[in-house]
């Protein structure tokens, strides 16, 4: 009995770990969708670039002989956020802004193009083989009998939880309290009106891309350190999963993206544990279809009611 419970707890831990990172990436999709109604398909690539930069920063520091772990992590995280944000900003400026205002399909195509471009740009620069890195943060706690199944909670998982919670809290405070966050919400509700009130909406839109990219970089750094491996194509599947999480929670809703990420992560890990690893994507996407059938606005999305 104890073993069954421990096994379940273990899946929960694993699911929440992955789910938190999905949630971090999903916020980038949901914020951009909320504000300009487009799906930024290049967002997964921003996450991938974030992982690469974190790896580079970590190896760079190893070469310099720096061993102080918090410093390594902090430098990796910040440099990854900085580079990814620049990419997020540049993508919007180059590939989306000139196309805004036209048919909605056009920026979508441009986003797919941007995604393919970035994948290959990184592949040419970094090579097409997986880049692996030994784990920086190893060890953890185990629970359960010495001779039976032991549930483990590794330090890196704890780090993922903590960093995710901090990022989400900062984001929530930013959106609800700060002046820029208020402008973001206004632009999301009525871009044209915000413009007419003198809000520089281009700047607000650019900041959502920067914020989304920075959070994707946080996820990239964390997941990179968790898995210890990266290639130029990890952004595709991670992006797809995070997009699913955003839709699941209700696209356009930030708490929805957080919830959607966790639900998706836990679903995947449960499926992999109790059913079969091969089926985990099937089940998560089936979940998406079910949600869309029965609650198209997602779990926390509110249907738009037009008052006449």
């Amino acid at each position: 009995m104890l073993e069954v419970i421990l096994y379940f707890i273990q899946q929960l831990i694993n699911g929440i770990t992955i789910g938190s990172t999905y949630a971090l990436i999903a916020i980038g999709y949901t914020m951009v969708y909320g504000i300009i109604g487009m799906i930024n398909f290049a967002h997964g690539e921003v996450y991938m670039i974030g992982t690469y930069v974190a790896f580079m920063a970590i190896s760079g520091m190893a070469m310099l002989g720096i061993e102080f772990l918090p410093l390594i992590f902090l430098v990796a995280l910040l440099s990854s956020m900085l580079v990814s944000s620049s990419f997020g900003w540049a993508i919007e400026r180059i590939a989306y802004r000139p196309l805004r205002g036209g048919n909605r399909l056009i920026p979508l195509i441009s986003a797919i193009g941007m995604s393919i471009f970035l994948q290959n740009y990184v592949r040419l620069g970094q090579g097409s083989r997986d880049i692996a890195m030994s784990s920086q943060i190893s060890g953890g706690w185990s629970f359960g009998p010495e001779d039976g199944f032991q549930a483990s909670l590794s330090y890196i998982q704890v780090l993922i939880f903590i960093v995710t919670i901090i990022s989400m809290t900062v984001l929530t405070l930013f959106i609800s309290r700060s002046r820029m966050g208020r402008a973001c919400r206004a632009v999301a509700q009525d871009l044209k009106m915000a413009n007419l009130l003198g809000i520089d909406t281009n700047r607000v839109i650019a900041s959502t891309f920067v914020i989304g990219a920075a959070l994707a970089a946080v996820a990239g750094t964390l997941l990179g350190m968790y898995y210890g491996v990266v290639n130029a194509f990890v952004g595709f599947i991670a992006g797809l999963k995070a997009f699913t999480a955003a839709v699941l929670g209700g696209i356009g809703s930030i708490p929805g993206a957080m919830l959607g990420g966790i639900i998706l992560g836990v679903t995947e890990s449960m499926t992999a544990a109790y059913f079969s690893t091969e089926y985990k994507d099937v089940v998560s996407f089936a979940l998406l279809v079910l949600i869309l059938l029965f609650k198209p606005t997602g779990i926390l999305g509110k249907p738009e009611v037009e008052k006449i």
């Binding site: 009106m193 915000a194 003198g198 809000i199």
Partner: protein, 251 residues
């Protein structure tokens, strides 16, 4: 202050506005009237930068405004409302007024995160201004309600308050009395006149409520089928045979 010369706007084969000219001087209430579909709102859309006029000149405070992005036009001190209410429905009443002051406060991300003294000071100034205008339009007790949950008349008043916190010189109101009951229309009447007298704001008004228009306007422009028909004081307009013909038809 605002001068429009020979404004024309063509949508494909339709000439929606044809050679409209108008002037708004300081502290004036100017109305544009005309039958439905006369092109009044199109004129508004051209002035506020929503549309790019096909031809004509629009200058505001001596600056040419056509072709400027709309947020820049509004930063010159011109702000407008729409025929239907366009509030930020899922934000609170007070937030609607704070966000409208966004451009007046510096938006440096870092000073926002660090909450520097100057950020706090500006934020509290914005809050005071918002509270002042809420009181003026009788919405102070509802400050923390979601704007979308207000009654229609309250939403209309909030919209005007939101325009006023941006500190405009010219306020453009597109059918502000539409859907209001007679009592609310009288209040609106008083509010608009007070904006002119107490806050030195000029008002450009599109309105169908003739009682309101005739009562408060300094001058009136009449447009019919996109073409200017007449302009003058309310008395001149009331007795103008062309205007009567356009409104009542010939017999």
């Amino acid at each position: 202050m605002l001068s429009v010369r020979d404004l024309s706007m063509r949508f494909g084969g339709l000439l929606a506005v044809n050679g409209v000219s108008l002037d708004v001087n300081e502290r004036e209430i100017i109305s544009i009237i005309g039958p439905n579909g006369a092109g009044k709102t199109t004129v508004f859309n051209c002035i506020s930068g929503f549309y790019k006029p096909t031809s004509g000149q629009i200058t505001f405070k001596g600056k040419q405004v056509q072709g400027l992005p709309d947020f820049k036009i509004s930063r010159l001190g011109m702000v407008r409302t729409f025929q239907h209410v366009r509030l930020f429905n899922r934000m609170t009443v007070i937030e609607n007024l704070l966000v409208a002051q966004h451009r007046h406060v510096n938006t440096n991300l870092l000073s926002g995160l660090l909450k520097t003294p100057s950020y706090r000071k500006k934020e509290s100034e914005a809050m005071e201004k918002a509270a002042y205008w809420l009181k003026k339009v009788d919405l102070l007790p509802l400050a923390n309600r979601e704007a979308g949950n207000l009654a229609y008349g309250q939403q209309r008043r909030l919209e005007i308050a939101r325009c006023m916190v941006t500190g405009p010189d010219l306020l453009m109101l597109d059918e502000p009395a539409a859907g209001l009951n007679p009592k609310e229309t009288r209040d609106l009447d008083e509010l608009i006149v007070s904006l002119k007298h107490d806050y030195n704001v000029s008002i450009l008004l599109i309105e169908h409520d003739m009682g309101l228009v005739m009562g408060i306007s300094d001058r009136i422009y009449v447009v019919s089928q996109g073409t200017p028909l007449a302009d003058g004081t309310p008395d001149e307009i009331r007795t103008n045979p062309d205007v009567i013909k356009a409104y009542l038809g010939e017999d």
